[in-house]
C-alpha cells in the first residue's frame, strides 16, 4: 500500500512545486482503483470461486464462497462439472459424494483437473439408499467442507434437512462451495442452475453425438431476474463456448471442420513414422 501511494503522489509533488490540487486524470483513476483494496471489509461478493469463461454471461461474478448451487435439468451433472472446472485449474480440490456414477472422462472434458478429485463412494454391500446414517453423513460432509474448496454432491446423499442446514452453515466460514448435481434432498440452494440440452450429430442409425447446445438458466436469491444463455458444451471442436460469441471470433481457433482437422493432424504422425 505504501509503495502504491508514493507512486501515485510523486509525479505530482515532484513537478517543480506545482500545486497538489492539479492531479491528472490518470492519477485519479489509479486512486479510484486503490479504494477497493484499501477498504477494511471484504464484501461477500468478492470471495468468489471463478467459473469457466463460457459461463460469464450467467455467472459474471463466479460462485460465491460458502454458497450452495443446485443444478437441475437434463444436463444437470454436466453443468455441475462445468461449474467446478475452473476452480480445479487454479489449484482447488474437489470432494465428490453421492455420485457413484460420475464419469471421470466427462469431468476431464469439462475442464476439471481429474488429479484434484477425491470421491467418497458407497460401501459395496449396501443399497444406495442406506449408504450411511444421518450422523455419519453429517461428519463426512463436514470433513469434506473443511478439506476441499468445492464439494460436489449427488442424489445419493441422504441427510435430514437439519443436518443439511448445519453443513451449509459450516460451509460459510470455511468458504467452501457446495455444488449439487441433480436433486439432493434437504439442501436449500442460494443459486439454481437449470441446464437443458439439445444434442446434435446423431441421425437415424448413423452419426454419433457430437455437440450439445446447453440452455442455461440461473436464478436465485441474489439474482433479481433469471439470467439465460446458451452454450456449446461441447462444440464440434470439443471446446466450450457461449453461442452468443460470434462464430467469427471462434473461427480462427477452428478453421476447419473436425473431420478435416483430424485428417490434418494424422498426416504428420504418418510422416514421422515413415521417416
Amino acid at each position: 500500500m505504501v509503495a502504491g501511494s508514493t507512486s501515485l503522489v510523486s509525479p505530482v509533488s515532484s513537478g517543480r512545486g506545482r500545486p497538489l490540487r492539479v492531479v491528472d486524470a490518470d492519477a485519479r483513476a489509479r486512486l479510484a482503483a486503490l479504494v477497493p483494496r484499501l477498504a477494511p471489509a471484504t464484501m461477500a461478493a468478492e470471495r468468489v470461486v471463478p467459473v469457466h469463461d463460457a459461463l460469464a454471461t450467467v455467472l459474471p461474478q463466479g460462485l460465491m464462497q460458502g454458497s450452495t448451487v443446485g443444478c437441475t435439468g437434463e444436463a444437470a451433472t454436466s453443468a455441475a462439472l462445468l461449474l467446478v472446472a475452473e476452480a480445479t485449474q487454479r489449484g482447488a480440490w474437489v470432494g465428490v459424494a453421492g455420485l457413484s456414477g460420475l464419469g471421470v472422462q466427462a469431468a476431464g472434458e469439462a475442464g476439471i483437473d481429474v488429479e484434484r478429485l477425491v470421491a467418497v463412494r458407497r460401501p459395496p454391500d449396501r443399497s444406495p439408499g442406506l449408504l450411511l446414517d444421518d450422523g455419519t453423513w453429517g461428519q463426512v460432509l463436514a470433513a469434506m467442507i473443511d478439506g476441499f474448496d468445492v464439494v460436489l454432491l449427488g442424489p445419493e446423499v441422504q441427510v435430514r434437512p437439519s443436518t443439511a442446514r448445519r453443513v451449509q452453515a459450516r460451509a460459510q466460514p470455511r468458504g467452501a462451495v457446495l455444488v449439487l448435481a441433480g436433486e439432493v434432498p434437504g439442501f436449500t440452494c442460494d443459486l439454481q442452475v437449470r441446464a437443458d440440452a439439445v444434442w446434435e450429430g446423431l441421425g437415424d442409425g448413423h452419426g454419433h453425438l457430437r455437440a450439445r447446445r446447453m440452455r442455461v438458466e440461473v436464478h436465485g436469491r441474489r439474482v433479481p431476474r433469471p439470467r439465460r444463455d446458451e452454450l456449446w458444451f461441447p462444440a464440434l471442436d470439443g471446446g466450450i463456448t457461449s453461442t452468443s460469441v460470434t462464430s467469427a471470433a471462434s473461427s480462427p481457433t477452428s478453421p476447419t471442420s473436425p473431420a478435416e482437422d483430424s485428417r490434418e493432424s494424422l498426416a504428420p504422425v504418418a510422416l514421422e513414422r515413415a521417416v
Binding site: 464419469g103 469431468a107 481429474v114 467418497v120 476441499f148 470439443g238
Partner: protein
C-alpha cells in the same frame, strides 16, 4: 585448503536394529507409510526400501512392521556413540546409525588410520553384540573429505565380514578423488543434500560417473546448476569439508544455562534447552545466518559431561535443536526419577546388568546446559516450487482424505486413476486415496532409503514437491483408445449396468444378429423405473468383441447411442439379447 581427514562409522538399517529385530526376523520400519529400513530377512523376502505398507505386507506376509520413532533410534545409538567417544574426543552425529570424527589425533595415538579404525570397530562390535546381525554389521571408512569418508564407510559395511578388519576401508591421503571417480552418480543421493532431479539431469547430459562430473570446470558447474550443483561437484571431487557456503560462527556464540539446584527431570532441562536454542537462533537470524552445526554440552553436579555435535545441512530451527538435545539427554541420562533411584539404589542386585550403568549414567542431576553454534551459513531460506509446489489446499485435501478414510473406511475414499479402455466405465478406475501417491506427501522422497534420522521437516517438504510434479506429468493428453467411444463422454456411468427394454415400431425387442445387423430401428426405450420414451434418433451398432482369448472374461456386445424425444441421450448395449444401460449423457 585440503579437506580434513575424517572417519565415518555407518551402521546399516539402524532403525531396524533400534526396533530390536532378532536374527532372521523380518522387520520393516515405516515412516509416512513407506519402508525406510528393513532387516536382512525382510530383504530376502522381497521388502524394498520405499515400498508402501501394503506392498511390503503383500511381498512378505510375516514381516513385523514398526512405526519409525527417532527417539528410539537415538536412544539405541547412544551406547555406540559412547563406545566411540572412548577413543576420540569429539564425535559428530548426523543421524542415528552414522557418526563422524576427525582422525588426525586418534590415528597418531593408536598408530595409524587402520590400526585405530580396527580398534574402534572391534569395540563397537562388542558393544552391539548380536544386535546388529539382523541388519548387517557396521562399516568404518576413512578418507579425505566428508562425502568420500561416507562412501568408504558404506562400501566397507557391504563386505559383511565377521572380522572387524574386513569392514574397514581406508582411502589413502589425497586419493579421495581417484577413489570416487569410477563410482556412479547415484552415490550423491546418499548424502541427502543433492536432489534426484539434479543427479538425473547431470546423467542425461552425458556425465556417467563422479570422476567425469568432478572433471568439469567448477565455475561452469556453478553457472549451470547453481549452488546445489557446486556442492555436488565438491562432493564428487572429494574436496568437501563442510557444506558449501558455511563459515565459522562469530566468536562466543554460545548460550549457557546454569541451574542452581541439580535438575533431574528431562522435561525441565529440555525446556531450558528450548530457551537457549531460541537465543542462539535469534542471534544468528539478526545477522541473516542460520546454524548448520552445533555442539550441546550437559554437565552434572559430579562433573560428568555429555557432549554431542549435531549437523543439519539445511540449517537448524530452534525446534530442531531442541529435538537433538532431547535425543542426547534421553539417551544419556534417562533422567526420570525412577531410573535415577534405581541407579542410586545400593541394594540393586546387579548394577552392571545395564550396559549404560557401566558406561556411566550420571549420578546426579544436571547443573549446566550449554549450546554452541560451531558452523553457520547465510540463511537463503528454502525455495518452494513456483509450479507444482505443494499448496495449502493440497495439505488440507490430504488431511480431509485421511479424516474421511477414518469415517467411512479406507476403501471408500478414492481418487481416479486413468487406465484406458473401450467402455466409459473402464477408462478410469477408482483407487483408494491411501494407495495413491497423489495425496501422499512422502511419495518419491529423495533418498528415502536413508532419511531415517533426519527428523526436521525439510526432507519431507522436498518429497512433497516431487510428488506433485509427478502427478502433473500424467495429466498430459493421451491418444485415443482404439475402440473407445468418441467425445463427448457421458457424465454418468453405470458401473453396474441397468437392464433396459428396447423395442421397435411394432413392439418387438430389437436384436442384433451375429453378423452385426440390427433387426429393426429402435423406436421405444423402457427403463426399469417404469418410464418409457420414444427414440428420436439413434446410432449403432458398434460391435465390441473383447478378450476372445479368455473364456471367463470374453464379452461380445453391440453398443448404441439413443436419443429420446425428451432430449435425453443414453449409451446402451445389447449383450446376449439383453439390453443394458451403460451410461447417460446428462
Amino acid at each position: 585448503m585440503s579437506p580434513p581427514r575424517l572417519a565415518v562409522l555407518w551402521c546399516p538399517q539402524w532403525p531396524v536394529v533400534a526396533a530390536g529385530a532378532a536374527l532372521d526376523e523380518p522387520v520393516a520400519v515405516l515412516h509416512a507409510n513407506r519402508v525406510i529400513a528393513r532387516s536382512t530377512a525382510a530383504a530376502a523376502g522381497g521388502v524394498r526400501l520405499g515400498l508402501r505398507r501394503r506392498e511390503a505386507q503383500a511381498r512378505c506376509p510375516e514381516v513385523r512392521l514398526v512405526v519409525h520413532d527417532p527417539l528410539v533410534d537415538h536412544r539405541a545409538f547412544q551406547p555406540v556413540a559412547d563406545t566411540v567417544a572412548r577413543f576420540v574426543p569429539r564425535i559428530e552425529l548426523h543421524r542415528a546409525g552414522m557418526l563422524t570424527f576427525h582422525t588426525r589425533g586418534p590415528s597418531r595415538y593408536f598408530g595409524g588410520d587402520r590400526s585405530m579404525a580396527e580398534r574402534v570397530l572391534t569395540a563397537v562390535d562388542e558393544t552391539l553384540g548380536d544386535a546388529l546381525r539382523a541388519a548387517g554389521p557396521p562399516g568404518l571408512g576413512i578418507a579425505d573429505g566428508r562425502f568420500a569418508a561416507r562412501v568408504a564407510a558404506r562400501s566397507a559395511a557391504r563386505s559383511r565380514g565377521s572380522e572387524a578388519a574386513v569392514r574397514v576401508l581406508v582411502v589413502d591421503p589425497d586419493a579421495s578423488s581417484s577413489f570416487l571417480a569410477p563410482l556412479p552418480l547415484r552415490w550423491l543421493l546418499d548424502a541427502g543434500e543433492v536432489t534426484t532431479d539434479l543427479v538425473e539431469l547431470v546423467a542425461r547430459l552425458g556425465v556417467g560417473n563422479l570422476g567425469a562430473f568432478a572433471a568439469l570446470p567448477a565455475a561452469d558447474v556453478l553457472a549451470r546448476f547453481g549452488r546445489p550443483g557446486a556442492a555436488a561437484w565438491h562432493m564428487a571431487a572429494g574436496s568437501d569439508d563442510r557444506p558449501v557456503g558455511t563459515e565459522d560462527p562469530p566468536a562466543g556464540l554460545a548460550a549457557v544455562q546454569h541451574f542452581d539446584a541439580p535438575v533431574q527431570h528431562l522435561e525441565a532441562v529440555v525446556f531450558s534447552g528450548r530457551q537457549l536454542a531460541e537465543q542462539v537462533v535469534e542471534t544468528l537470524a539478526a545477522t541473516g545466518r542460520v546454524c548448520t552445526q552445533f555442539v550441546s554440552i550437559a554437565e552434572t553436579d559430579h562433573g560428568e559431561t555429555s557432549e554431542r555435535l549435531w549437523s543439519l545441512s539445511t540449517g537448524f530451527t530452534a525446534t530442531a535443536m531442541v529435538e537433538r538435545i532431547r535425543w542426547q539427554l534421553d539417551g544419556w541420562a534417562r533422567l526420570d526419577a525412577a531410573a535415577l533411584e534405581r541407579a542410586q539404589d545400593p541394594d540393586d542386585p546387579d548394577p552392571d546388568l545395564d550396559p549404560l550403568a557401566a558406561a556411566g549414567i550420571p549420578t546426579t542431576g544436571i547443573i549446566q546446559l550449554r549450546i554452541e553454534a560451531t558452523e553457520v551459513r547465510p540463511d537463503e531460506g528454502v525455495q518452494l516450487g513456483l509450479w507444482g509446489g505443494r499448496s495449502q489446499a493440497d495439505d488440507w485435501a490430504q488431511r480431509a482424505a485421511t479424516r474421511l478414510a477414518g469415517l467411512v473406511g479406507d476403501e471408500q475414499v478414492v481418487v481416479a486413476e486413468w487406465r484406458g479402455g473401450r467402455h466409459p466405465s473402464d477408462v478410469h478406475r477408482w483407487v483408494p486415496a491411501s494407495l495413491s501417491s497423489r495425496l501422499d506427501p512422502g511419495a518419491h522422497s529423495t533418498g528415502s532409503g536413508n532419511g531415517s534420522g533426519n527428523g526436521s521437516g525439510n526432507g519431507s517438504r522436498n518429497g512433497a514437491r516431487n510428488g506433485a510434479e509427478a502427478g502433473a506429468a500424467t495429466a498430459a493428453r493421451r491418444p485415443p483408445w482404439p475402440g473407445g467411444l468418441p467425445m463427448p463422454s457421458p457424465a454418468t456411468v453405470h458401473h453396474d449396468p441397468v437392464a433396459l427394454r428396447v423395442v421397435d415400431g411394432r413392439g418387438r425387442p430389437v436384436t442384433v444378429s451375429g453378423r452385426g445387423t440390427v433387426s429393426a430401428a429402435p423406436a421405444r426405450v423402457r427403463t426399469p423405473d417404469g418410464g418409457e420414451a420414444r427414440v428420436a434418433s439413434w446410432a449403432g451398432p458398434w460391435l465390441v468383441d473383447e478378450r476372445w482369448w479368455d473364456q471367463a472374461r470374453h464379452r461380445r456386445l453391440a453398443r448404441f447411442q439413443l436419443l429420446t424425444v425428451d432430449g435425453r441421450a443414453y449409451l446402451a448395449a445389447i449383450e446376449r439379447s439383453q439390453w443394458w444401460l451403460l451410461a447417460v449423457y446428462d
